[in-house]
Amino acid sequence: MNLQAIKILFLKDLFLCRRYLFGYSAAALASVLFTVAPDPTISYIGFLLMITVAIASGIHMIGVLLLGEAIDQTRLFVMSLPVSLLDYSIGKISVVLATYLIPWSTMFALTLIGTFVLPDAQVGKVVLIPAIFLFLFASFLLQLAVAVVSESIGITICVMVAGNVLLNVFLMKITALPEVKAVMNGDQVLWPSAIVWTIGVELLFIVVALAVSFWYQTRTRDLV
């Protein structure tokens, strides 16, 4: 493994998607500002924008950085340079993760902070925030794994749509659980076992999806 080559590949991709990254980070910031607005309609728009940014930035970065290089035939150029398949795979998956995590972590961190800092915020709802954001991250990693294995933008979009539908089902189901309902409107942070289990499963899923992506990418026999 050549760390210098990985760093160069990583920075190259970061530079290539700089405009998208800036746009998604700005949209992420705007979504948080909308969410904390006193008007419930604007706040709801902020929430929708947040979910949209998390979903759209993920599929877009996978498309541009991972699948785009195969479609545009720029991968042949990169792989003609002194990099191994392992260097390429680590650099590629790392940069896709980084470009997703920048807007994602902005939204996650600011939402958490906002819940504690804003005077009217219901602190009890804070337990839902990691569960929702980890669901979005897990859904993104599933798309990444599918993109690595299938190299198909069509199949990856289908997985994204399925993840989007499942997110709504997830939100409905988890907020309907009596133990979650009970703590949501409280002014203390309490962790019901359902939420703890959900977060545990999401973390496990994240590790597995990430491992599958790395494992498959580094074992691809023909990259071009």
Partner: protein, 306 residues
Amino acid sequence: MTTDVLKSDVAQVAISLRGISKKYKHFELKNVSFEMEQGTVAGLIGPNGAGKSTCMRIMMGLVQPEKGEVSVLGQKISSHEAQAKQEIGFFSDDMRLYKPEALGWHMQFVRSLFPTWDDVYAKQLLQRFGLLEEQQIKGLSHGQRVKAMLLLILARKPKLLILDEPTNGLDPVAKHEILSELMRVVEDDQRTILFSSHNTQDVEKICDSITFIDRGVVVGSRPRDEFLERWRRIRVTADEGWRLPALPGLKLDSQLRSLRVLITDRFTDELRGQLLNSGAQIESIETMSLEEIFVNAVMRGREGDM
């Protein structure tokens, strides 16, 4: 002593493919073996879909063969891919640069990976190829794109150049500029070039040795001059009852009444004598162009004759 001799032999081989096989749905590379010495210029000629690109991608470690061994510049490509590529410049007609970025950005990017990058030479190439650093890749014509890629390859001073159809689709001027630059590179005795094309004229201009490939099989591999010396078209006249002598490499190409056109890939003065002894009268013995030799080699290969 023996070990030293072996080491020096290994160092002299630029590319070695041994028993390479690779199967795709509609194409198969069958037991391809190929060797190329350092400091030589070799041409890989084959029709479209013959397996030239697959062979070259296997040499670069971009495609993994199912069987066989590949070593490039003395290193096994399967285990030393990155190190080997430090000294290889690979061009493919299918290769693309990043459209929104400028050529200068690509130069900086490639320079960051190659300590051997030569800035002065890169500037000279920019001038010779009529390119500008600030030009965006998406605004380049096909010829300019090929030149830009060759600039990125040549300026890093690779020991080995693997060029997959670099002259494909170029206008005569661009083709001349590129071949001229390659001729300059060839002047350096330490540089090795493998050049693929389906255009024999381009290959003939710069290559010392030639390998013909068709349908995933090597159908001939020799020094260029040996190909040109061994292949002949012989026009003979003979009686109706005359039979073609069963001589190795001699084939009847066409017949018009008593005139018969024969083609051989093993021409010698002895063959001339044997034809005369058989009762035929030799009208002419003609040399063949590389393109004619290529077509005949491919057709013989398809007949399972070579």
